[in-house]
């Protein structure tokens, strides 16, 4: 296999082609500047974004909502998952609930959440929590179920109590699964935040997208899209980094189970 030349450059080809095609479309004059703003103007708006504290505040608002909902879902989700994995009764009661409503778009609850939790951040955090809960519960349940029985027996044999066995055997053994659940949940958190902000909000990145579109500033809108994309990418990287630091004994690269 060739290990140099074009082959090395292949990963960048698609991105480069896309960017060149974009700039060509922008400069051709066939379409309005509104449809294809030039890369230079998008970049200018991007610089404006990262140097303007008001814009950065909007990004922070979105990030706060996403992370708040995700953190809540992580705590509650791991707890429920462990409970289901270690107790037949809990699994019997909760598993139909989670697998039955798994494919139901929880987003449809948003209008009701607005009435219950108000139009501010709380309704959005609640929806993020609910959407993130599913992958985390399902994956930690699967992790807790697949703990090697021999390890548990050994722990019990050496006199570990139930709590100790949970802390020192079950949780470390299911950690790779839990992180796989996190990796599904983090993009979900970003998706839900952006959607809810686009639907009804006066702040956050989703609101900025809709607002820039309404004021016909497509270049600014695309700059916000780039910022959202970067945030989503960095959050995913952060999860991967934390996983690689915390659990060196097992990685699970399956995205969806």
């Amino acid at each position: 296999m060739r290990r140099f030349g074009l082959y090395q450059l292949l990963p960048f080809v698609l991105v480069a082609v896309a960017l060149i095609a974009w700039e060509a479309a922008a400069r051709s004059g066939l379409w309005s500047k509104l449809l294809f703003p030039s890369l230079a103007s998008i970049f200018r708006e991007l610089i404006l974004f990262v140097t303007n504290s008001a814009y950065l505040m909007e990004a922070w608002v979105s990030l706060e909502r996403a992370l708040g909902g995700f953190a809540l879902a992580a705590v509650v989700g791991i707890f429920i998952g462990m409970l289901m994995g270690r107790s037949k009764l809990a699994a019997g009661l909760l598993d139909p609930l989670f697998s039955g409503t798994y494919a139901v778009p929880k987003l449809a609850l948003f209008p009701i959440f607005i009435f219950v939790f108000g139009i501010g951040s709380l309704s959005k955090v609640a929806l993020v929590f609910l959407e993130c809960l599913y992958p985390i519960v399902i994956m930690s349940y699967q992790g807790a179920r697949s703990v090697n029985r021999v390890l548990l027996w050994s722990a019990q044999n050496m006199g570990a109590s139930r709590g100790e066995a949970l802390r020192r055997v079950v949780i470390p053994a299911s950690a790779p699964f839990i992180f796989a659940g996190f990796r599904v949940a983090v993009p979900v958190a970003m998706i839900v935040v952006v959607i809810t902000e686009m639907v009804s909000s006066a702040d956050g990145l989703g609101y900025l997208v809709i607002y820039s579109l309404s004021s016909l500033r497509t270049d600014r809108m695309l700059a916000v899209v780039v910022v959202t994309a970067l945030l989503g990418y960095l959050l995913d990287k952060a999860v991967v980094l934390a996983r690689d630091r915390l659990i060196y004994w097992g990685k699970l690269d399956t995205y969806y189970v």
Binding site: F12, G100, Y102, A103, P105, M190, I195, M198, V209, Y256
Partner: protein, 246 residues
């Protein structure tokens, strides 16, 4: 255990209904009221029009996205150069919320159904692509060796070893994609549409028609659930030879 499950569900519904007798906030309807409004709505043509409009967006989007995802994911799993070309771009953009592209899609493809179908297809592409790719990569080498040993050609190995071995993963990806297609469809309709269940819930919200809100909610829930059952049923029928996970 089945009895315990049923009694838990019954207890929750009963408590909800009793709470409603006691007086609930205006925006929480009792289960009986929800059922009554839903049956009422099933008798009118309006609900079916919205359901049809929603399905006409989500299903083509799901079909296009998952077909492309499966085809390219399988190809990237087999062909190294294609993998090097595609996978960095795919894995880079995977954690990005695709719905944020909806406004620009609306500018490019109009505010009609096309932009919504395409954004749904984009969102559905990723889970299927990634799963198909990993499915191919996880093909047991020993199966490929056996096939080679028995004189299979490259095409035959792909068709009769690689694809069947990646199929369960592809179905898992499709299950995620289908759920995603309903979410994106609903979001797109809430943001901008003149029909569909997402639009219906927006009207209901703006005019404080809580009955319509719950009708829309229940419809999308039933659709999501039924779609998921359908994918799982197809999985079981088509891959009957595969050991079913518990």
């Amino acid at each position: 255990m089945a009895l315990a499950k049923a009694s838990l569900l019954a207890a929750v519904l009963l408590a909800w209904q009793l709470a409603a007798l006691h007086g609930l906030p205006q925006y929480v309807l009792s289960p009986l009221e929800i059922v009554r409004y839903f049956v009422q709505a099933l008798g009118s043509a309006e609900l079916y029009e919205h359901i049809w409009a929603s399905l006409a967006r989500s299903l083509p989007g799901f079909a296009i996205g998952s077909l492309l995802g499966a085809a390219l994911g399988l190809a990237a799993g087999v062909a190294r150069s294609l993998e090097r070309l595609l996978s960095p771009a795919v894995f880079l953009t995977y954690p990005v919320p695709k719905i944020v592209m909806l406004p620009i899609f609306m500018l490019w493809f109009g505010i009609g159904d096309l932009s919504k179908v395409l954004i749904i297809a984009l969102a559905c592409f990723y889970p299927v692509f990634i799963n198909a790719y990993y499915g191919v990569r996880a093909t047991p080498t020993i199966l490929v060796w056996s096939a080679l040993n028995m004189g299979a050609g490259r095409g035959e190995i792909f068709r009769r070893v690689v694809v069947p071995s990646a199929a369960p993963m592809i179905f898992a990806g499709m299950r995620v994609s289908l759920a995603l297609s309903f979410i994106v469809m609903f979001a797109a309709e809430m943001i901008n549409a003149r029909s569909g269940l997402g639009h219906l819930i927006r009207i209901a919200e703006n005019s404080l028609r809580f009955d319509l809100m719950y009708v829309s909610l229940l419809s999308i829930a039933i659709l999501g659930y039924a779609g998921d059952r359908l994918v799982r049923f197809a999985h079981r029928r088509l891959l009957a030879w595969q050991e079913q996970p518990a």
